[in-house]
């Protein structure tokens, strides 16, 4: 499969965030998107998933040549898109197990029935792989989870849902060294020709464990430079100023926008 983002302009509350972004991801490829804060990396992931707060001004998002910009969030998910969120949302009262089961069932045709035994084994295996501990199935979705547990739970869902294209939005934030390694290993194990990965990160450390095929630098709402490992090393050592200098990019005064607040704990 191919995910293609064409000349995409996206705004939120009348402020233009993405300004002519182009990106093509083939199944089996891993792309890393790096860039300074407020440059639109998360916006890219959210708009591909269909977040209702963002507005596409122009451009297109194509999945195997078909535009998906008129598809709803759930339709995009069922088409194979996945977003591991930077701040996974807590849903009190809904157990992880019930949630993941419902999500898996939405991908089944009307004639299919979930084989519950097989599903439980797969859930337990994924849980063990990510060292989520016993009882995860019965814990309420992300409620009372540590930052690291929330991130690992995102990867668990990814393992259970088998997406075609997965955006991992700063999956490394909030993870200690061991957890980062574990997440990296699990994501790497999922790599196949059927999965395109888009890693959004600030740091090299995630890319030590998940090797990207392409590295993109995003500044001021578009991809300004594409390369491979050498870009990661240079960013780690020198930051982004050299890119701006090299390409003659001036800083813009972009204020961060809130997409809402996390629900309060009950």
């Amino acid at each position: 499969m191919i995910l293609e983002i064409k000349d995409l302009y996206v705004s939120i509350e009348d402020n233009l965030i993405l300004k002519g972004l182009n990106l093509k991801v083939n199944g089996g490829e891993t792309h890393a998107i790096m860039g300074p804060n407020g440059t639109g990396k998360s916006t890219l992931a959210q708009i591909c998933m269909g977040h209702p707060s963002y507005k596409i001004e122009s451009g297109d998002i194509l999945l195997d040549g078909e535009s998906i910009i008129d598809k709803t969030v759930d339709e995009r998910s069922r088409l194979g898109l996945f977003l591991a969120m930077q701040n996974p949302i807590e849903v009190p009262g809904v157990t992880n197990f019930d949630f993941v089961k419902a999500a898996v069932q939405t991908r089944m045709s009307k004639d299919e029935h979930l084989r519950i035994g097989k599903f439980i084994l797969k859930f337990e295996k994924a849980s063990q792989d990510l060292k989520m501990g016993q009882g995860l199935a019965h814990r309420f979705l992300n409620q009372g989870f540590s930052g690291g547990e929330k991130k690992r739970n995102e990867i668990l869902q990814m393992k259970m849902l088998n997406p075609c294209f997965a955006f991992l939005d700063e999956i490394d934030s909030g993870l200690d060294v061991d957890a980062l390694k574990l997440v990296g290993q699990n994501v790497t194990e999922l790599k196949s020709n059927d999965l395109g990965l888009i890693l959004i990160t600030h740091y090299q450390r995630l890319l030590d464990y998940i090797t990207p095929d392409f590295v993109h630098i995003m500044i001021n709402g578009k991809i300004v430079k594409t390369g491979k490992d050498e870009l990661i090393k240079r960013i780690d050592q020198e930051g982004y100023d050299w890119v701006k200098k090299e390409l003659g990019i001036e800083d813009e005064d972009i204020k961060p926008y809130s997409l809402g607040v996390c629900p309060s704990k009950h």
């Binding site: 269909g50 969030v73 949302i89 849903v91 009262g93 809904v94 019930d98 419902a102 996390c262 009950h266």
Partner: protein, 303 residues
């Protein structure tokens, strides 16, 4: 008396209306006093019982009891229940009030707890009617404690006025109130939640949590959490979070492929599930689940 089928099979049933008493549990009953002397799970079914005096449940010293109290009324009635929980005794009480018609229902629940006594009250309020419910908990004895869990679903033109009052009348007493409220259609749920800690009752704890979700534009939820504290050395908190369905929760579930209807149902289930899972008896659990399913059918659709 139209006793629910599964209740008829319970060996510890006590059921009564104005004409008949079925006392399989062999509870000592004198006038309006039920005296519980043996540890057990009891099922109390009351139908259209027009009480001239309050009905008193006596939980004797040191006993650990669980009572499932099902009240069915099809007339405009006033009822007062009193529970006296003696020293070192504990009562887990599940109440399910119901009506077969849209009528007025005035109800008082009074609890008196002696030293080291504990109460866990789980109230399911899921019917279409006009209810005034006053819950008064008196923590008379030192180290007595009360936990109150309410699941209230309002639908059609339900009007519920609920007053909850916990009085901390001794040292080291603890109360914890959790109200989970769901309003749909044109229902109106009004709660006044009060905790009172009298002077000198140090080391007491009073906590209140109220969460409510409104699923239509015409429904209302009003909650007034109040604390009246006349002692410094205590712990207390209160709060209310009432609103429409959380858009971020909805987006999160949609992003995993659930349809909007499924996602909304799951979020609502998240309100009801913790309450259901607290109930031990599988028949009572099934009764409650079917009640919820019946009234919530189609309510997850976006209006």
């Amino acid at each position: 008396m139209n006793i629910l089928k599964f209740l008829k099979e319970k060996k510890t049933l006590i059921a009564f209306d104005n004409e008949q008493v079925i006392n399989k549990a062999k509870i000592s009953k004198k006038n309006n006093h039920l005296n519980f002397e043996k540890e057990n799970d009891y099922f109390v079914f009351i139908e259209n019982y027009n009480l001239t005096e309050k009905l008193v449940f006596e939980v004797n010293k040191g006993l650990n009891l669980r009572i499932y109290l099902i009240t069915y009324q099809s007339k405009n009635l006033e009822i007062e229940y009193e529970f006296n929980i003696e020293e070192n005794a504990s009562l887990e009480l599940y109440t399910n009030f119901n009506t077969r018609r849209n009528n007025k229902f005035n109800l008082k629940l009074n609890f008196n707890l002696d030293e080291n006594a504990s109460l866990k009250l789980m109230s399911a309020l899921i019917f279409n009617g006009n209810l005034s419910l006053s819950t008064n908990i008196n923590l008379n004895g030192k180290k007595s404690s009360a936990e109150v869990e309410v699941l209230n679903i309002g639908y059609k033109d339900t009007k519920f006025n609920i007053d909850q009052f916990v009085r901390h009348l001794n040292k080291s007493t603890v109360s914890n109130i959790n109200n989970s409220l769901i309003a749909t259609d044109k229902s109106k749920l009004k709660y006044s939640v009060s905790g009172f800690i009298a002077k000198g009752n140090e080391l007491s704890k009073a906590h209140q949590s109220n969460k409510g979700i409104m699923l239509s534009d015409s429904c209302e939820i009003e909650v007034e959490p109040k604390l009246f504290i006349d002692e410094y050395n205590v712990e207390a908190s209160h709060g209310a979070a009432i609103g429409q369905m959380d858009e971020m929760q909805l987006y999160y579930l949609l992003s995993r492929g659930l349809t909007e209807q499924q996602a909304r149902s799951l979020i609502i289930f998240g309100y009801t599930n913790p309450f259901i899972s607290m109930i031990e008896d599988k028949d009572i659990k099934r009764l409650l689940t079917s009640q919820i399913t019946r009234v919530m059918k189609g309510k997850a659709d976006n209006e």
